[in-house]
């Protein structure tokens, strides 16, 4: 028993109850709506950021009326015979552009000093859908940085209130002590009376954060992600719910940080425990599985300077000399 849904003219058969977004992900490619708050591993997530809005031009085979408003594809289940327009609808593109603008209204443009830069969902989204200039001419809301525990820093100014970290704490860790305080555009993620978030899986909030609001204090300001090399590795973790499959981010010989493995939509495959994430930063702790595949569109794949000088240069003294001069010229300020 499966239902047929057509997204931007591409038909696919999916399980009943699948959301439009997941049906689109099964098709893959450009027609997948972007999602800032939806996280397939977290129940009840989604519906909040509105970047995944799509147009339903035909409700179902039984009831072919189009839906009156754009719908959040991450939370709308498919119906048999449904027809959905994403990138083929100018209305959707326009609305999405508006949403990106709204998300950036109170987001600081501090990408040059933000640890998330290079792997930030909002940066990608802004690049693809945003306007070049902002029309917002007022002060942005700002917050003091808060340390939640000794390993995680919360920089609320960058938060887009996707609620993902709240769902992680609810569903992955044994108890939640942080949440949303206040409402409207002064609402903030926080712990009640500066409580420290402290449990075995708290580090996962860093991975699920789509922006640089929650960052790893052991990695903060150490390096830019595109200068590091991701390598997949695993270890025999004794935590009952952690299988120890991670990505190590190397700079030279040094492991700068450890994260969970992420799929093509930036979602972690499996959540990892804090011991793996924060305490195991030596190559000897890990069994290397191989280099992580990075899309050639990603900024992380740039600056792979390790193949310079080329092997042939290393053996030829004249070329070595020439390369040295070239290197000095290139690196001169």
């Amino acid at each position: 028993m499966s239902v047929k849904v057509t997204i931007d003219g591409i038909a696919i058969e999916v399980e009943p109850g699948t959301s439009i977004l997941n049906a689109a992900r099964q098709i893959g490619g450009d027609i997948v709506p972007p999602a800032m708050c939806y996280y397939s591993k977290l129940k009840d997530s989604g519906g909040k950021c509105r970047t995944c809005l799509v147009k339903v031009s035909k409700g179902s085979e039984k009831d072919p009326r189009p839906m009156p408003k754009l719908v959040a594809s991450c939370r709308t289940p498919v119906m048999d015979g449904m027809e959905v327009q994403n990138i083929t609808s100018p209305e959707v593109i326009e609305a999405r552009k508006g949403i990106v603008e709204m998300l950036l209204v109170n987001h600081p443009l501090d990408c040059p000093i933000c640890d998330q830069a290079g792997e930030c969902d909002l940066q990608n989204l802004g690049f693809e859908h945003g306007a070049v200039k902002t029309r917002y001419e007022f002060d942005r809301r700002t917050f003091e940085k808060i340390d939640i525990g000794d390993k995680i820093q919360l920089h609320m100014t960058r938060c887009i209130l996707c609620y993902r970290c709240v769902f992680v704490a609810d569903q992955i860790t044994d108890h939640r002590i942080h949440g949303i305080l206040n409402r409207g555009d002064h609402s903030e993620i926080s712990t009640y009376i500066q409580h420290a978030v402290d449990n075995d899986f708290s580090g996962n909030v860093i991975d699920v954060c789509p922006v640089g609001a929650l960052t790893d204090k052991t990695f903060r300001f150490k390096n830019r992600v595109w200068f590091t090399k991701p390598v997949e590795a695993h270890r025999d973790c004794d935590h009952p719910t952690c299988n120890g499959k991670v990505t190590l981010w190397y700079k030279g010989e040094e492991v700068l940080r450890v994260t969970a493995r992420k799929d093509q939509y930036g979602e972690v495959e499996e959540f990892i425990c804090n011991t793996c994430r924060f305490d195991k930063k030596k190559t000897s702790d890990w069994v290397i599985d191989g280099a992580r595949h990075v899309s050639n569109k990603s900024v992380i794949s740039s600056n792979h300077y390790d193949f310079i000088p080329l092997p042939v240069v290393k053996t030829n003294p004249i070329l070595m000399e020439a390369n040295k001069e070239q290197f000095e010229r290139d690196t001169r300020l």
Binding site: R50, I99, M102, L103, V105, N106, G184
Partner: protein, 453 residues
């Protein structure tokens, strides 16, 4: 003037007590429904009456009731939405304050129709006196055997609870109300599922406005057909309108739907015209969320027909030249009121009340508020009007709940109809802080439409 259905005995001394209310024919609807009718017959009667939701959206109440899922072995709930906090609307508070037993009677009949064993009245937190009044009235009704176990010996049990809210406007949205009632943060839920399938505690739930529930009482007493005779077209029955602003006689009026707005505005029986001999400049017909209209478009539709107080006639012309019935919060503005300031004030309200869950509303309302503040104090630019319209368009329809729409409509309509005044605030910046634009051409008769042969 038609017969009053809800406020018939409002001036009887002591009508807020059980004895007086009962002696005036109160609780007859409960006796009639529970003893002589089946629940489905009650639903059928409400359907026949054509009663439409009085909370703002105007969705037919009988239809809403018939959508309620009825799985075996799962509790069903009726929740009364008394979280009335729309600026300009104060009809529910009046009803609860002066004639609380009418609401309780309506709750009993409606709960019976829906098969609910437990029902809640969710009252806005600021209305503490009304909460006390309702609790007292519930205790009285319980003592008289109209609530509790085995009501009137019919074997029907009902417990009725009053639940004070925390005072958030957003909790008037039905799913946010249910979240709040469950003890969570009042964030609207993402639909589907609709409350009729999975509402309070995951059970099928109907959420109705105070006035809709109260209106069930005369429907059962007189019959749905009798109720449907009042009003025009699909707007049947009577409606409470809370008139405020610069009218001579502000207050809550019960009108037959279909009353001409001119009569409502100027007859001494109702608003009595504008106070201090001034002229009408603009009207917000149904609470702050609905589009504002200039006087000329309000009294006459764009086709030069007289506008009536009904769901259809107020919406005549769509968003281009019409407004909405909304929740019945009628606000009139005289010639000395500043529309820019009023729009800013409304937007400030929505900015403050946005729950912050979805991004367009969270960021957009604050943005609009800042731009309007700048305009009001004479620092605006001519491009601000287009910016506001564009931002409001980006919010409208893209949010989880209707608060985004409610925030966008007043701004979009104010700029559509009062653009001159906004522009004057830019071009005469320093003058704008000392005096108002005045009535300008907003009350001029509409030009006759050209006859196209």
């Amino acid at each position: 003037m038609g017969r009053k259905l809800l406020l018939e005995h409002i001036n009887v001394p002591g009508i807020n007590t059980y004895e007086v209310y009962r002696s005036k024919g109160g609780y007859a609807a409960v006796e009639k429904a529970l003893k002589t009718m089946s629940p489905d017959a009650v639903v059928e009667e409400v359907k026949k009456s054509g009663l439409r939701g009085r909370g703002g959206a105007g969705f037919p109440t009988g239809m809403k009731w018939s959508f309620l899922a009825k799985p075996e072995g799962v509790a069903r709930y009726l929740v009364c939405n008394a979280d009335e906090s729309e600026p300009g609307t104060f009809k529910d508070r009046y009803l609860m304050n002066y004639i609380p037993h009418l609401l309780i009677e309506g709750m009993i009949v409606s709960s019976f129709a829906l098969g609910a064993k437990v029902s809640y009245i969710y009252v806005r937190g600021e209305m503490m006196p009304q909460i006390r009044i309702l609790e007292k009235a519930i205790a009285e009704a319980k003592k008289a055997g109209f609530l509790g176990k085995n009501i009137l010996g019919t074997g029907y049990d009902l417990e009725l609870y009053v639940h004070p809210g925390g005072g958030a406007y957003i909790c008037g949205e039905e799913t946010a109300l249910l979240e709040s009632l469950e003890g969570k943060r009042g964030n609207p839920r993402i639909k589907p599922p609709f409350p009729a399938i999975a509402g309070l505690y995951g059970c099928p739930t109907v959420v109705n406005n105070v006035e809709s529930i109260a209106a069930v009482v005369p429907i059962i007493n007189d019959g749905g057909d009798e109720y449907a005779k009042i009003g025009v077209g699909r707007s049947t029955g009577t409606k409470l309108i809370s008139a405020g602003g610069n009218v001579k006689n502000p207050g809550v009026y019960e009108i037959d739907l279909g009353l001409p707005v001119e009569e409502f505005m100027y007859s001494d029986e109702y608003c009595g015209g504008i106070a201090n001999g001034k002229r009408l400049k603009a009207v917000v017909a149904g609470g702050s969320s609905v589009p504002i209209l200039p006087a000329n478009l309000f009294l006459k539709t764009i086709k030069n027909e007289a506008r009536l107080m009904s769901y259809e006639s107020l919406a005549d012309g769509g968003f281009v030249s019409g407004s909405m019935m909304g929740s019945g919060g009628f606000i009139a503005y005289d010639e000395d009121q500043c529309i820019v300031r009023n729009t800013w004030n409304f937007t400030r309200f929505y900015h403050h009340e946005s729950c912050g869950q979805c991004s367009p509303c969270r960021e957009g309302t604050g943005w609009m508020e800042k731009v309007l503040h700048r305009l009001e104090y004479g620092h605006g630019k001519l491009s601000d009007m287009d910016l506001l319209v564009d931002v409001s368009k980006k919010i409208e329809g893209n949010t989880i709940c209707p608060l985004g729409d409610a925030a966008a409509w007043p701004v979009a309509s104010a700029i559509r109809h009062f653009r001159d005044e906004f522009e004057w605030h830019v071009t005469h910046g320093s003058e704008a802080v000392t005096r108002n634009y005045g009535i300008a051409h907003y009350a001029d008769p509409l030009p006759k439409p050209e006859v196209v042969a």
